[in-house]
Amino acid sequence: MRQLMLGNQAFARGLYEAGCAVVSSYPGTPSTEVTEEAAKYDEIYCEWAPNEKVAMETAFGASLAGKRSFCGMKHVGLNVAADPLFTCSYTGVNAGMVICVADDAGMHSSQNEQDSRHYAAAAKVPMLEPADSAEACEFVKRAYELSEEYDTPVIVKMCTRVAHSQSIVELGERLEKEPLAYEKNIAKYVMMPANAIRRHPFVEERTGKLAQYAESCAFNRVEMGETKLGIITSSTSYQYVKEVFGDQASILKLGMIYPLPEKLILDFAAKVDKLAIVEELDPIIEDHCKKLGLAVTGKEVLPMEGEYSQNLIAEKFGKKLPSYKSLEESLPGRPPVMCAGCPHRGLFYILSQNKCAVLGDIGCYTLGAVAPLNAMEMTLCMGASVSSIHGFNKALGEQSEGKTVAVIGDSTFMHSGMTGLANIAYNQSNSTVIILDNSITGMTGHQQNPTTGYNIKGDPAGKIDLESLCRAMGFARVTVVDPYDLAACDKVIKEELAAKEPSVIISRRPCALLKYVEHKPPIRAVQDKCVGCKSCMRLGCPAISMKNKKAVIDNTLCVGCGVCQQLCKFDALQPGEVQK
């Protein structure tokens, strides 16, 4: 059967067809749907882990026990999981283990643009790179065979345009795989120096064998066309190259990105007059070719940053670009904003009013940094708010303690905020940490986490109690506040900042987009009472705008949260009427 499938959905189909039995991942755009789609197959055990390191170690444990396993993450997630990755390269696997890492060139939804291909070389783990959905499905199945044959975890690298594009996939049957027997093997699996020293040569030998495999494997293919120009490319760049050149150039498409072949590349180079490399982000294929002594065109004409496209390739190679018409005026941008009714808004408003220095974290609430709230100093990586405020306050002492807060979401806190909190508790800085508990992992599209009480399938699961957790770590001051109640937020923030000991504030209110959240009728803007003071506009709510110097409410967006009402001194914003 042929089906139009998202790259990530096809990846999950590959997991299913390969007989994968255990999946553990942490959500991250653009990787999230691999695991969400895998969870729709009853044959696969799937879970959201608290972070990527835990996910990879869980997958490793399942592989060790004899079942094919998987973990998925975005590029920056692999930084978190790098520790197990580098050493499970040494131990190898029992049953096959596949890792998905999804890069985000163009940073549609990420804090950096790192190129994950470096990890394959650094950890000496083979990496495959599909260029569409059909390849995603196929490569995953072959990745398991490779994993078991060469005794190694295998990384399958996606990118935004492969992960989030739909193309046609031919569906196959599931391979019902007997679990492999688990056998205790101290020399292979206990990585202490005496054993690891013996495993390192194995890794080098394996890489040599895989490099041989790369010379003739089906992942890499030559498509001969005209021979004036030869292009070596991979992933989504291959699609742009084909779009621009068709048969006017010869192409070596690499589906295996580590290790890279040598003879295959040299033979291809010998058949063409000029050689070019088209790869997004870093010059990894290019550097490899240069080491082989080849003269290539690459990053001196193509950018290191951002996504490529057919027009970009055409332009850089001197091809004609399509013409188009343009409007002369500059149009206002439409950046993403906190949704109407977002529970983060009220809290950020109070932080901004109190002129707090806010150390931020990764999630929807990073949008607290944009106008009109502008309430954030820093965002680095998952969990960094809690660790950084400790360093900030240790450096500045009383100068900063009374006016600085860290803000972190519930899911991000479970991911890697807890360890930073442990440092505050242990090394005692007078820091104020606000956990923005919206009862879901919001930014990636509503995934459950250890604090929500539900698992990936929506069934009841263990639920970590944030208040008890913080108290157990030694925080005597733990307060819960409703971010829709501005006066209460103001009071709590002032009190906790004034306190002479570290504290945790839990700002608790479920994400307004959650299906079970009941909304009130839209707020009513009473035009006669509105004086046009724009107090309500300071919230940056997309449901409020000024028309003819009076506030108006967009009824299709307003969820009646009532935060704006608390700012109006003229009673111009009133609760909406319940409709029968």
Binding site: H164, I168, G540
Partner: protein, 189 residues
Amino acid sequence: MTKNIMIVGVGGQGSLLASKLLGHLLLSEGYDVKVSEVHGMSQRGGSVVTYVRFGEKVYSPIIDKGEADFIVSFEKLEAARYVQYLKEGGRIVVNTQEIDPMPVITGAASYPENLVDKMKALGIQVDDMDCLSLAEEAGSAKAVNIVLMGRLSKYFDIPVPKWQKAIKECVPAKFAEMNEKAFLLGRGE
């Protein structure tokens, strides 16, 4: 020859259903199809773009400047934003609804005036229609996407019953009748 349809709008307006519908329909017509979306920020009121490409063999999943045969826009400002993506001789189908972006809400900018006229003045073929009213007439403001698909369908050689079958297969059964009405209102029938 690959045909390109760009669907643009504001996060949360339901553009993903439109691309799902088109993908489903074009696949059943025997074309090679690619549909590209960007997730992540899409629920947060930002500008969203979906690309639908079909033909004998489609390589790139994205549509570049000067390539779109059609731009289907859920919102007026968003149609104007992506005008450069339209091919010479291409057509814009636009819902004339205005949704203020944050710079307009905060007063840093104003919503541009007469955008449809300005696009027409460039010689662009623009089908501007109040899809929200038509959707409400059909029974739900949420049917804007189907109204737009109805209008788009006029420019394809695919028979109406095939569009209607695809709609039925892509939306919950309880909305089938309402969507059929929305589709026909969009077509102007």
